[in-house]
Structure formats: structure tokens, C-alpha cells
Amino acid sequence: MNAGAIELDDVSKFYGDVLGVNRVHLSIPTGVTSLVGPNGSGKTTLMNLITGLIRPTRGQVRVLGLSPAKHPDILRKIGYCTQFDAFPKGLTGYQFVYWFLRLHGFPRAEANALTRQALERTGMREAADRHVASYSKGMRQRVKLAQAIAHNPSVLVLDEPLNGLDPMARAETIALFREWAGEGRFVLVSSHILHEVDRISDQVILLSHGYVVAEGQIQGVRSEVKDHPIQVLVRCDQPGLLASRLFEQDHVVEARIHEDGKGLLIRTRDADRLYLLLNRVVLELGLEVESVAPADEDVNSVYQYLIGAEGGTA
């Protein structure tokens, strides 16, 4: 039993007949972990299980060694930011965070100080005394975040926290996540914006239809997906010539010329040999290379391979 992780031990959750998650086995370490998957794949269910809002139908959930549903004291160490835009009516931003802290049992002075700190950290200091109903979407999002971090939790569960934030606020919030991860906290973030997930996460969990399809660091996940050869995109002036030389090798499975005639998409089973070869061929043929990039070592591609285009519009 690892007291330093979030563990889900063969956990299933059903809502009547409807599937939430099925046989999930995870051990989430500290750092920024991203939860990725289509709508309805079980992300919110997973988050609700970790925060103790629901109990698993089967299996055990342990946060820092204790089950959140059975040991409510552990909730002090968990902060939760929902994806829903709902607030109690008639409160100002300050009041929302303050009373939440008082509910946790903090005395008045400390709650006041912590509220101010949290609001400062999320950039809501000036608007704190206005009613939440008059906030823009981004401001409401930041107040929710302030509420989640106010009591200095070790575990942060954030459901689409960047939704509605403008680019600057996004960058600031991402910096905040990395700061917390650096302090040894668990930051669990769910997001649809895959290129951001690439940038901010230490590890990734992919969900589809209630199952965990992949988890771990993204490069590790990619190299394990063996059904799909590595893709490399080379932009140069004579892609056809390059392709003809590459085909002489047995590890090159496919070479496709880009529609604008200036790029070559190479699929190979052995990335190392490809790069060595590429270096040689470029010099031999005197090619003018514009850019070289692995085409699928990101979350987006892994998502495509493992989850595919389902979950979109019917």
C-alpha cells in the first residue's frame, strides 16, 4: 500500500445499468497527470471516485493510503474543481472561497488569510468583492480554482480547469500547475486540448468507454503502441528522390508525398536506423531540408490510434 500515491484497485462503477468505469487499475504518482478521453468515457466518474463523491461498485480507491469515501478527513487534503458552471446564488467571489474554508474547519482569521492568498494566486484579488453572477466565464473559472487550492491540498482534482480562460490566464494557470507539481503534489487535470496536455503533463491516462486504454509518460506509451510504425515528417525540396532511397531499406514501411509536393511522411519500424540513414542521404543527394519532425509522438496521435474518431458527433 503506497501512501504516496492515488491508487485505484480493480475499480468498477455502474449507475444502474449504465457504465461509468470498468475494471480500472491505476497508481497515480505525484506531478501533473492528464486525463484524456472523449465525453462520456469515464473521466468525471474517475474524478468523483477519487474525491469520494461516489463509491465504487467494486474495488477500492485509496488516496494517500485512505479511502476518501470512508475517511472524510482525507478530504482536507483534496481540492476539487468541477467542470460545471454552478455557484450558490448571491455570493461574492470572496465569500464563496471563505465559507468553503470555514466549512473545512479553519478559524476565521486563518480562513480570511487563506482566501486572500488563493484569490491573489488566481488573479482574482480585484474582483473578489463583486457577485459571482456578474463575473465573466473566465473569472468564474478562476474563482473555482481559488476554492480548490485555498486549503493547500496535496491532491488537486481539476475537471477541465482551463475552460474559458484567455491565453494569458491559461499560461499562468499552467505555470501554477507546474509549480504545484514541483512541490510534490498530485495534480490531476482533465482536458480536451491535446497539445496543451503534451506540454504540461508528466504522465497521461487515456480513457475510452469506461476503460483505461493507456497510461504513463507519453513517449513510453507511444513506443509501446507497436501496431503503428513510427511516423516522421520531412519537409524538403525533392521528396520523391528521398523516398526512392528510403525504400531500399527494409524497415521503411511507407513513404507518402505530401499534397503540396514539398514533404514526405515516412513510416518506419526502426526510428534510430531511419535517422542515421536520413543524415547520410541528405548529404549524399544534396537535399535542402526545411524541417524534420516526428509526426506522432504526441498525445494527439496516440489518442487517434487508441481511441480513434469515435465519440465525436454521430
Partner: protein, 309 residues
Amino acid sequence: MQPVIELDNLEVRLGERTVLNKLTASLTGRSIGLLGPNGAGKSTLINTLLGFHAPAAGTARVIGLDIRTRARQVRGLTGYMPENDSFIASMSGVRFVRLMAELSGLPQEQALERAHEAFFYVGLGEVRYRQIGTYSLGMKQMTKLAQAIVHGPKVLFLDEPTNGLDPPARKRMIQLIQEIRDHGDLHLILSSHLLRDVEECCDQVLILKDGQIAAFCNLEEERRANRKFLELETRGANGTFTAALAKLGCQTAPGAGGRIKLVLPDGVEIRQLYELAAQQQVQIRRIHCKRDSLEDIFFKAMEPANGRL
């Protein structure tokens, strides 16, 4: 070429706040992005152009039509996809879009035809006969897009079109927007917080801040320039490689994740980098042109102006 949107000292006040402060600009691109922090006035600008707010001073023109005097005609030429949920739950998708088409002036039969065409175009099949209240978020967004294009407008306003969509649906929406931009005979105004969406879909960008124009740039031109900034990812490189690069005349700097950022001076070609790599047994795994991306432009625009507190 006649500008799509002309802002002429436009000033809009809501209550006592001046939300848009003497905006003057002339937007001509096929696809224009609207960026800015929360509260900068993006939604207010769109609402004003659509006639929901009356300007306190100044005016604006959409395709040459003044919004103060020809508001109704302006609305006849525009399509609007709002950010928030906007639908009638008890109607089926087709009926709703047909209603919208008829309100825009299409006769009954043509309205029905175009409604089906719009649904076919956005990729919603049998779903169109179900009540909108039962739709998923992606379907609702597509329906919003369908009602925005059903009457064939000349200017399309899209406010956060990928809001809340999961990755496959986002991709489909972006593809659709790009298709509309490339083959449709209309102009797009895209307002979004996701810089990548704007980068992929727009060729001009208007950045607002505190009700004023912070920057206005042409992404096409930006893309063509700045080919000399590179980012290299290597395997097997060490100090000698970097030193050799410096000897070639490149300015180098360490980048994130062990990469090397460098500036190619005039006269130095990428092939010479490969020669160096071959000499030193270094694998070049990635060469990446790092041009002034929209992110840099945006953050630069957000910096407070010089001399102001």
C-alpha cells in the same frame, strides 16, 4: 478590395463602463481572428456589429453597410454562431434550422432544402430528426453552425466554436471551418481563447485589450518570414557539436528538453548542419522552424505599453 469590416471610432458603453473605446480598423482578410483577454470587448464587438448594442459614438461598417442605419440589412448578410448554448429543446434539428432559414427570408421549400443541405454539410445524419434537447454537446455545436450558414451569409461570426468539444469533434469542427474558409464564398470572423484554433483557421488577427486594439497582424506574412530560427533535437550531441555550430556562425542557445535553439546566419545552409552531424556521429532527430508564432505575438501585445503604469 472592399474591407469586410470597418471600424470608425467605434465607442460602446454598457452602463457606465466604456467597453469599446474609439476602435478604428479596416479588416480585409478572408478569415479574421479575434483575440483578447476576458473583458477586452470581443463579445461586445460582435454583439455591436450584429446590432444588439447601440454605439455611443462612432460607427462601423460591415461589407460597406453602416450598422447604425442599415442594421437590418447587415443582419441579412451575417451568420452568427454564439458561444453559449442556443437552441429550442422541443424542436427537432431540421425544424429548428428551417425556422431560422425562414426567418432570414427564405421561402418555405427552399428553407427546408437548405436546412437539410446544412446538416449534410456539417455531418449530422439521422440525428437531425431528433429533438435538440437530446443532443450531445458536439451535435449542438454543429447545429449552431448549421443555422449560421443555412441562409448563405457573406460574413460568418463564430464565437468559441470548439467550446467543450472532445478531440475528434474539435478536429471535425476545425476542418469544417477551414473548408468553409477555403471553398465558401464568405468571410469568417473567429473569436477564440485557443490560440491554436485561430492559428489554424485565420490569416489576419485582431487583438483587443481593454476595449482598444492592441495589435493587428497578418499571419500569412508572419509565416513567410522568420525562416532562420531553428530548433534542433539531436541524439549523441555534446558540447563539441554546439561549439562547431558556433564556429559556423550560428548563434546557439539551449532549449527546453535538451534541444538546441539556433539562428542561421545568411549563407549558412541546413545541409551544413547535416555535414557537421555526420562528422561528429550525431543523429539529427528533429529540425523545427520556430517562427514568431501567434503565442509570441499575443503575449507581446498584452504587455503594457511603454511609459504607462
